[in-house]
């Protein structure tokens, strides 16, 4: 059944599959092992729910991928390298910066200055983390971040 699950993972957007596919497969197999011990009915119920859920959420992920650039698609402006060329740590760090900046801008535009101060602090920490990640992998900063 693991093979069926692995094939169905191809319904997900490539970036999602690359980053989370192996984990999802491992979680499914751990659950399958546990449910196999509970008898054939429980196992069949588990498999049907898992495979049905996978197809449904793959469709949702494809829709989100088509309409929204999020964490896995590297939403930071000013990044010259495509996401697949960067280590996951760096992509995560870049996206933390982008999320903080978006939250900061939202808070300022809604006159929520206490929150803006909070997000400014988060942004500072996220930028420092990104700097360390770039240093760790020896990646230059091609263009200033927003």
């Amino acid at each position: 059944m693991g093979a069926v699950f692995r094939v169905l993972l191809y319904l997900y957007p490539q970036r999602h599959r690359e980053l989370l596919g192996a984990e999802m497969q491992a979680v499914f197999e751990e659950g399958a092992r546990e449910h196999r011990l509970l008898g054939p009915f429980q196992y069949l119920r588990f498999v049907l729910l898992e495979l049905g859920g996978l197809v449904l959420h793959a469709a949702i992920a494809q829709f989100a991928h088509a309409t929204h650039r999020g964490y896995l698609e590297n939403q930071v402006r000013g990044t010259s390298a495509p996401p697949q060329d960067l280590p996951d740590d760096v992509i995560e760090a870049q996206n933390r910066v982008a999320v903080s900046v978006n939250q900061l801008l939202f808070a300022i535009s809604h006159h929520q200055f206490n929150q803006a101060r909070f997000y400014k602090n988060e942004e500072r920490k996220a930028r420092e983390n990104l700097r360390q990640m770039r240093e760790k992998y020896g990646i230059g900063d091609p263009r200033p971040l927003p």
């Binding site: 999602h16 989370l20 192996a22 984990e23 999802m24 497969q25 491992a26 979680v27 499914f28 751990e30 659950g31 729910l49 898992e50 049905g52 859920g53 996978l54 197809v55 449904l56 959420h57 793959a58 949702i60 992920a61 929204h68 999020g70 964490y71 896995l72 996951d88 995560e92 996206n95 933390r96 999320v99 903080s100 939250q103 939202f106 809604h110 006159h111 929520q112 206490n114 929150q115 909070f118 988060e122």
Partner: protein, 117 residues
């Protein structure tokens, strides 16, 4: 002189979905990997909720998008057993949601008492 109306300090949060709330609650105590999250959520909900792998990773992905959780490197975990933990923003959002529940439940009980009187 231009007057700017003071806006009330309302948080811009939407109610969280049940899987998202349960994931945040589970991670509030300690970092966990995928299967441990499923088991903990099952226990947390008194066996009412068992997330499928698709539901779990759909929610985890949205939480990563929002910056409410982060992937966490543990020495004893491989790439296919990655741990997750709450960020400070995730903790704040969980607190806001739990406050909202507290207010809602207070209002609900007040209405019940009115009905009984």
């Amino acid at each position: 002189m231009r007057h700017v109306a003071r806006r009330p300090a309302i948080e811009h949060t939407k109610p969280l979905t049940e899987p998202v709330l349960l994931i945040l609650m589970s991670l509030a105590a300690q970092p966990r990997h995928g299967y441990a999250l499923i088991k903990d959520i099952e226990a947390l909900s008194r066996h009412r909720v068992r997330l499928s792998t698709g539901t779990l990773y759909g929610a985890l992905r949205r939480l990563l998008d929002e910056g409410w959780i982060e992937r966490f490197e543990q020495e004893d975990t491989s790439r296919d057993k990655q741990a997750y933990r709450l960020t400070s923003e995730g903790r704040r959002q969980l607190e806001l949601e739990l406050d909202r529940f507290r207010e809602l439940s207070r209002a609900g009980f007040a209405r019940l008492r009115l009905g009984e009187a």
